[in-house]
């Protein structure tokens, strides 16, 4: 009994660790979609910022600086995305794919230039052992057996992610700025007819929200494990898009939808110890993303029918 409870706690723990990066990216997607900027550069942004978090840590051994650089890089890329889409009227799909293509090439290029590999660099670098983000162990929690497992190995950014969901909610739904941003997302021309500089609002808000992807990037490379591997983001950016689709851009809904997808991802890694083959397990998150979207749409349609 205790064993299975302990096992469940492990699953929950790895779910949490999968959820938080996804949640942060989804929150950025939420803000972007609320101001009607279709951001599919999430994937490339995540990958590049994850790389820079690792790289900065490798060169400076300063974890604060690593987080800062990662956040700034993510904001820079998101700014470029927003500038091209909003200011230059670029097609969002193409801008996003361009950034994603570039990011994969760029990180592999840098990986090869700096670390002389195109695969994985783990914490044991030629330059000595890297340390990741400090794992928090909260007094109270660390003494209760099963709860301890659930919250094991979580970093401050993991906790921050949940807080940011609430902060994003408050900013978007309670403040004047958030009110204007949502209004812009609903009707751009109405907002600009009243003299609001719509493009500026869109670009600044998306850029700031991009910072959250930077935090997610830190979690990937300096979180529960400290390593960088080629294409480490592994479609999380796209899954975040789906998660955002499910929660309709609501930051609190993002908690739920990213939990759902984080769980499938965790399931895949937890089941790795079983007889099931790894490659098939890897499919679980992707299959369940499609399934969740389909089921959600069917339910939504039923609901609107039931209303009638």
């Amino acid at each position: 009994m205790t064993l299975s409870a302990e096992y469940l706690a492990t699953v929950l723990n790895s779910t949490l660790r999968e959820v938080t990066p996804l949640l942060l990216v989804t929150l950025c997607a939420c803000v972007c979609s609320k101001v009607s900027v279709f951001n599919i550069a999430l994937e490339g942004t995540l990958l590049t910022s994850a790389f820079f978090a690792f790289l900065t840590q490798y060169f400076t051994r300063n974890i604060y600086l690593s987080v800062l650089v990662s956040v700034l890089v993510a904001m820079l890329i998101t700014f470029i995305m927003a500038f091209f889409i909003v200011h230059l009227n670029g097609q969002s799909m193409i801008v996003g794919m361009a950034i994603n293509t570039f990011s994969l090439g760029f990180t592999t290029f840098m990986l090869s230039m700096v670390f002389n590999t195109k695969g994985t660099v783990n914490a044991m670098t030629p330059n000595g052992l890297l340390t990741g983000l400090t794992k928090l162990s909260i007094p109270g929690l660390r003494d209760i057996p099963i709860v301890r497992t659930v919250f094991n190995n979580l970093t401050v950014i993991d906790y921050l992610a949940f807080a940011l969901a609430i902060v994003t909610y408050i900013v978007m739904y309670k403040t004047v700025i958030g009110f204007r941003l949502r209004a812009i997302g609903i009707n751009k021309s109405a907002a600009s007819s009243l003299g609001i500089r719509v493009k500026r609002y869109q670009i600044i808000s998306t850029t700031i929200s991009g910072g959250m992807i930077g935090l997610a990037g830190c979690l990937l490379t300096l979180g529960s494990v400290t390593l960088f591997t080629q294409n480490i983001s592994a479609a999380r950016g796209y899954v975040a898009l789906a998660a955002n689709n499910l929660c309709k851009g609501h930051p609190l809904g993002a908690l739920l939808s990213s939990f759902l997808f984080g769980f499938t991802k965790a399931l895949a890694s937890v089941l790795q110890n079983t007889a099931a083959k790894q490659q098939l397990l890897e499919c679980i998150p992707y299959v369940s993303t499609i399934a969740a979207m389909a089921i959600y749409n069917v339910i939504a349609r039923r609901k609107s029918k039931a209303l009638s």
């Binding site: 193409i94 290029f109 499919c283 749409n297």
Partner: protein, 365 residues
């Protein structure tokens, strides 16, 4: 007379307009990459010289480039038809993976004469590619799952599935290297033979035929007209009696067949087997998308752009061999080109923009 003159002028301007944008995009991105190369401590001219020689320098390299362009052309055509018909699907990669995988299996296992095997392998790739493409179409039509999400997810699923099969089910039985995750090598008679003496194989010729077919399809048939109108304004097409459902599936089938065949050509003419991750890591489908974009979705232009992009990557490998610059710099160039192609950089003909604004105003007023 004057009218004809004006028409000529207009056509020339339009052509110049069509070429100027990709040209500027390519130049800017090469320039940016040159900065990166310089920072890395290499001479730009040495690096680009190596790249150019490695892409088009002699018949061996040229062959290699053309061979490499084959799946890119097919991927480009797949993107072209889907996007121009209004479906922003990016499932070419998944379809190409399954196409290559199935073609490799059919050509390896089927106990029939060589030529029949090739035909059946290509047929299998077409069917599988189309089916996978239809799947995303079905998800869209039946469940409103957007193309971007469904196709991207399906790409990963296809890759993992093929990887699983190659690892555990159809792994090369007589391979010498136990670590190589690949299917068995296709017998010589079931391979796409080289056209000349070099490595470029008949798949390239097929791809060019497909370009011609595609051009014909869009210029001359009522299907082409309907799909184009559906892409420009789906409501208009519906209003004019076009069956949107039929169009969706037809477009998905053609797009899927194209991508699937691209995979088959790669397996039958280039690698002679399916090697785990062989489509995923080379990014053929994405290059195809970039090529289609560069050519503004013109099929012939897509083929030309595909060859250039293939040259970029064969040249990149050459550069990697002779300098310290890794070939991924080419992905960066590709990314920057795409980014620059997403916006209007320069405008030779002023017309389109202004009138478009006017039409918008008109719609509102």
């Amino acid at each position: 007379m004057t009218r004809e003159n004006r028409n000529w002028k207009k056509t020339l301007l339009a052509i110049a307009d069509g070429f100027s944008q990709p040209l500027v995009a390519v130049i800017i991105s090469l320039f940016l990459a040159a900065i990166v190369i310089t920072i890395c401590g290499e001479n730009v001219f040495t690096a680009y010289g190596a790249m150019l020689r490695g892409a088009f320098g002699n018949s061996f390299y040229l062959n290699d480039t053309l061979k490499r362009s084959t799946p890119i052309i097919m991927g480009g055509l797949a993107v072209r038809i889907a996007w121009r018909s209004g479906y922003e699907a990016m499932g070419g990669e998944g379809q190409m993976i399954l196409g290559a995988f199935c073609a490799a299996l059919v050509a390896y296992y089927l106990p029939v004469p060589g030529v029949v095997r090739i035909v059946l392998a290509m047929l299998a790739a077409s069917v599988v590619g189309a089916a996978y493409s239809i799947l995303s179409g079905w998800l869209y039509e039946r469940f409103q799952v957007t193309f971007i999400i469904s196709t991207l997810m399906l790409n990963y699923i296809a890759n993992y599935f093929a990887s699983y099969m190659t690892n555990y089910v159809v792994k090369d039985p007589d391979g010498l290297d136990i670590n190589a995750v690949q299917t068995g090598k296709i017998a010589v008679e079931a391979r796409l033979q080289s056209i000349f003496s070099g490595s470029v194989h008949w798949g390239f010729a097929f791809a060019l035929i497909c370009v011609a077919l595609m051009t014909f399809l869009f210029k001359k048939t009522s299907f082409g007209y309907k799909s184009r109108m559906g892409g420009l304004n789906p409501k208009f097409a519906l209003y004019g009696g076009v069956n949107p459902r039929k169009m969706l599936y037809l477009v998905m089938i053609i797009s899927g067949v194209s991508a699937g065949l691209g995979g088959a050509f790669e397996a039958l003419g280039s690698k002679y087997r399916y090697i785990d991750q062989m489509i995923f890591t080379t990014g053929y489908a994405w290059s195809g998308m970039v090529a289609a974009l560069l050519a503004n979705f013109n099929p012939i232009g897509t083929a030309v752009a595909s060859i250039l992009l293939a040259g970029l990557s064969t040249g990149g490998s050459a550069m990697q061999r002779s300098t310290i610059i890794p070939l991924e710099v080419c992905n960066m160039i590709e990314g920057i080109i795409t980014l620059l192609m997403s916006v209007r950089l320069i405008r030779i003909t002023q017309r389109g923009y202004k009138t478009k604004r006017k039409a918008k105003g008109g719609a509102r007023a």
